[in-house]
């Protein structure tokens, strides 16, 4: 059963459509990544899931509960890290964790303190004296401490150094191992590819593609220069191949399945040179946003 689901979810501000007709679901224990450039609708989608925004069309549900109408019950089942997390500036790190731990029974101060130690955060410092990265770490701890089935993170690793990014990826893996579901948005394609099970790509407020990261990883692009004519691939392989040969004797083959059976056929072809590269999320992303991504 899906933990979170949207059905034709839309949000308009006057004539501007921030999100249009978005339908997807997230299975229990899955890590779902949201990709898209600024203004694509990622944050709007997350805020609709949290019930912060009233949909102008469609519906979002978490555990079958309407996100807007039953937001308090929904929030018992999730934790959230906003894109630009702001905390009470007068409190120090420990007081912040204590405050949020007291606010919800699903949270524990002990777990928060363990996370703080792991992320090497100085809890004695006041929030207003913290750097942007420190504040981000603190907010991340607030979001990851509660024992809830769904964690929603809006660009969790922005402002973090590479070491902490690696730690965050580790924490998300642990969340998955504990059976939690994670939805997170990011601009960092490599990070999404490393962590996520599935990715949805948004463009101008529309969901334009959903891919399984495992499927994307199995896809390869093969570029070859030919000395003669490329023979037809065996019937067993042909379904998983897109072959394009131009007039200058160059071939580009996109292989969607395992590479091993293909290599035998390639060895028999009149090739002057051969280059094989994994397609990766970048290619998926650039299909919809040609100049975007990092």
């Amino acid at each position: 059963m899906a933990v979170a689901a949207t059905h034709s979810l839309s949000k308009c501000y006057g004539r501007v459509a921030a999100l249009s007709d978005c339908t997807f679901d997230v299975a229990r224990g899955e890590i779902l990544g949201l990709l898209g450039p600024n203004g694509a609708g990622k944050t709007t989608l997350l805020r609709l899931l949290l019930g912060y925004l009233k949909p102008t069309g469609g519906q979002a549900t978490i555990d079958g509960l309407d996100c807007y109408r039953r937001s308090v019950e929904v929030h018992r089942r999730l934790s959230y890290l906003p894109g630009e997390a702001r905390l009470f500036r007068r409190l120090n790190g420990r007081q912040t964790l204590e405050f949020f731990a007291r606010l919800r029974s699903e949270s524990s101060l002990e777990r928060s303190l363990q996370l703080a130690e792991r992320l090497e955060l100085d809890l004695a410092r006041r929030v207003r004296q913290m750097s942007t990265g420190m504040r981000q770490k603190l907010a991340l701890i607030v979001a990851l401490a509660p024992d809830v089935p769904l964690v929603i993170l809006d660009e969790p690793t922005s402002n973090l150094d590479p070491t902490v990014r690696r730690d965050v990826a580790g924490l998300l893996d642990e969340a998955r191992a504990e059976g939690k579901t994670v939805v997170f948005s990011s601009h960092v394609l490599s990070e999404v590819e490393d962590v996520c099970d599935r990715v949805i790509v948004l463009s101008s407020g529309r969901l334009v593609e959903q891919v399984r990261v495992g499927d994307v990883r199995r896809q390869h692009r093969i570029r070859a220069e030919l000395r003669g004519t490329l023979g037809p691939p065996p019937a067993a392989l042909a379904e998983g191949l897109d072959v394009l040969v131009n007039d200058h004797g160059r071939a580009e083959i996109v292989a969607r399945g395992d590479l091993a059976p293909l290599l035998g056929w390639l060895a028999e072809q009149p090739l002057a040179s051969l280059r094989i590269e994994p397609i990766g999320l970048r290619s998926v992303y650039e299909r919809h946003h040609p100049t975007g991504g990092r």
């Binding site: 949290l50 925004l53 929030h75 934790s79 906003p82 997390a85 405050f99 007291r102 606010l103």
Partner: protein, 278 residues
């Protein structure tokens, strides 16, 4: 959970409250002490001969204001005291929603299993507690001022109770109005500007209604017509049986409108989108 929010809300603003209450106590104490030293006969003569045109602005005849009780009760009309009450109510009321949305803490709060109404009501409860504290501090200040005053026959402290109650009513109204504006705005600065602008317009309408004979109907369009602490204090001292009901009418209007505005604010906030912080 609500206790956690209440404590947080109080801790966020106890310093402002302590400052406003201390200043209210000090201001009223000094004000009463100074007014007991004025040679009032000369002042009445000067006012009657030179400033009679301004008599319409006074809340009661100058002779009544010159009595010890009149002089003490007039403290509630002083700009300084009303400013302190306004500072607290507007600062808190505007921070309640627009302030928290603007600074982003609302987003973190609402991500917890906390209802929007709980956030609003706990914040307002602390604001109203502060209004009571400031009124109480003003009352204590008046008591201290009377203790050290040079009035031949100082009025009893209990005689200014109508003024205190009317002052409290004004605090409730301003809290409700500021909360409503805060629920409608995204930025706290906008909310503060709108509430202060409204207050200035109300004062202008009040002055015009009192100064221009043909425009006295305008007193019906300003809420400040329900804030008459000096007139009510003097009238109730003169004839309690007849005038206490008038105080309840005035305060009923202030409390009723304040509560209505707060209820509208709650409805607006519970249905509005919570935008990303500025």
């Amino acid at each position: 959970m609500k206790r956690v929010l209440l404590v947080r809300s109080f801790l966020d603003s106890w310093l402002l409250l302590a400052g406003c209450a201390a200043l209210a106590a000090a201001f009223t104490c000094l004000r009463v002490w100074v007014s007991s030293h004025i040679e009032i006969g000369a002042f009445i003569r000067f006012f009657s001969e030179n400033l009679k045109m301004l008599s319409g602005l006074l809340p009661a005849p100058i002779e009544d204001l010159a009595t010890p009780l009149g002089r003490v009760a007039f403290s509630f009309e002083e700009f300084g005291l009303v400013l302190l009450l306004g500072l607290w109510s507007i600062a808190r009321g505007s921070d309640c929603l627009a302030g928290r949305i603007g600074d982003g803490t609302m987003e973190m709060l609402l991500a917890q299993p906390v209802g929007r109404l709980a956030v609003l009501s706990t914040h307002t409860a602390v604001t109203l507690l502060g209004v009571i504290a400031i009124a109480g501090a003003a009352w204590c200040g008046i008591g201290a001022g009377l203790h050290f005053s040079k009035f031949a026959e100082p009025p009893p402290l209990g005689a200014v109770t109508p003024g205190i109650l009317n002052f409290l009513g004004l605090g409730v109204f301003v809290t409700g109005a500021a909360t409503l504006v805060s629920a409608l705005c995204r930025a706290r600065a906008t909310a503060v500007g709108l509430v202060i602008g409204f207050y200035v317009i109300e004062i202008a309408v009040m002055v015009v209604s009192r100064m221009v004979a043909g425009l006295d109907w305008m007193k019906w369009v300003t809420i400040l017509s329900a804030y008459e602490p000096t007139m009510l204090t003097l009238a109730i001292d003169r004839d309690p049986a007849e005038n206490w009901p008038i105080l309840w009418q005035y305060n009923g209007l202030l409390l009723g409108l304040g509560s209505l505005l707060w209820a509208i604010a709650a409805r607006v906030f519970c249905r509005r989108d919570v935008p990303a912080p500025l």
